[in-house]
Symmetry: C2
Subunit: 259 residues, 2 copies
């Protein structure tokens, strides 16, 4: 059956996260519902990142196998019509038969947005900090994170259960338009890792701890030394990276009865 790669954005506010759960509104659930309408049979969808309740996505990736009665462009248009307003399907491509949004992913890239001054229109899309922070102190903690391998100190206990080694690919704290943006990319992330790193950096920024605290958390792997988990609504799954050969579609797009 043909396999597809879907790039999508969503507003996490009214979702109980990505992952399908009985009785809850989830992004995976909405996608599977819409695809079942198109396919007229149940469709299973895989996601690259299982974002938590309230977390947004600009470039989440999903994969599914579907005997599509339509070419990709029209299938995408159908999904646009069938999905609710808080989910935007952005791109749809045929993928190799062994493509899997989660297992094929080489890296995920997130951005956490911190408001330096409250601003009502943006309140759903960033965490407005309740106190002043020193970006220089926060940046002083980044080299230790860039060089680190084991992030168990920055994860929930369950999140670190299946290994806690991550390779950081990108880590920058950028100031723009009255906010700080933490851009972070890695081959994998542990549960709540970006939000615990953010919460810790904010404690460093407000002067509660020195930047060396981050190295101490990395060394000891002790979650209790880290800061609180930053709120979900400031976090965005920005994009997912795949090896080149996983992006190349099979030679011919199958033609369907409606071509």
């Amino acid at each position: 059956m043909p396999v597809y790669r879907l790039v999508l954005a969503y507003d996490g506010e009214r979702f109980a996260g990505w992952q399908r759960q009985p009785g809850l509104r989830t992004v995976q659930g909405e996608l599977e519902r819409a695809l079942a309408v198109v396919a007229r049979v149940p469709v299973r969808v895989q996601g690259a990142g299982r974002t938590d309740t309230g977390v947004h996505a600009l470039g989440q990736c999903a994969s599914f196998a579907l005997d599509a009665p339509l070419p990709a462009a029209r299938l995408l248009a159908s999904l646009r019509g069938l999905l609710p307003e808080d989910v935007t399907p952005r791109e749809l491509h045929r993928a190799p038969d062994d493509f899997h949004a989660r297992f094929s992913a080489a890296a995920r890239f997130y951005t956490y947005r911190l408001g330096l001054q409250a601003c009502a229109p943006l309140r759903r899309l960033r965490w407005d900090l309740p106190c002043a922070v020193d970006p220089a102190a926060m940046r002083a903690a980044l080299p230790a994170l860039r060089a680190a391998e084991d992030f168990r100190g920055f994860a929930t206990r369950e999140g670190a259960a299946r290994g806690s080694v991550c390779r950081i690919r990108e880590l920058e704290l950028v100031e723009a338009d009255g906010e700080l943006r933490l851009h972070i990319g890695a081959d994998r992330f542990l549960h709540k890792m970006v939000r615990i790193i953010t919460g810790t950096l904010v404690e460093v920024g407000r002067g509660r701890w020195g930047p060396g605290r981050v190295a101490e958390i990395l060394l000891t792997g002790d979650r209790t030394l880290a800061g609180p988990t930053a709120p979900a609504h400031g976090l965005f799954l920005r994009r997912v990276e795949y090896p080149e050969h996983q992006l190349t579609a099979p030679p011919a797009e199958p033609s369907g009865p409606l071509d």
Copy 2:
């Protein structure tokens, strides 16, 4: 009685605009309600721009006279606590006794955000265009607007009733982050002017009309030649400009019983 200048942001979504109206939730109404709690007497507030239903503000300006029992910094903190989450008071300053947010204003600056591709998390803060547009064609229409004086063709009939001459101070169409931003500033604006200009530029951008259409509307003053009014939720009142002498507070801040 001491006069204050308040700079505030708000999310227009759940407001029936700026202006107080019986039975409706308005920004002016919420501000006056909060100030009455502080002052323990009714307080009248003036706004620099009477934004319509659904229009946002990043830097609206309001003025009011108040026998404040608190210095400005604490009055601002009180307002933060008393106002709902979709209004953010940003700055509060003592102003000259003759300061009036609307009549003292020298210029208003707006930004209209157009999404080039739909993106669910941003859907409340910009108009996601339903079609492709050519920014170069839209830009070709800007010189005529910059040079124009009479904007009656870009206003509602009632909006042009009390004169239709405006001096454009800023007009740029900037492409950034997958969106087009129309930055426009003028000494005054007619009712719905920015949204009708935007709606017209979008028609030019999608190729329905040539850029010369804008000059024709300016020449004839014929609203029926202009495009549809762009949706309110893409529009932001960005800032209000005052003459320097209107920003200077009187020599001494009065001290109150709680100082």
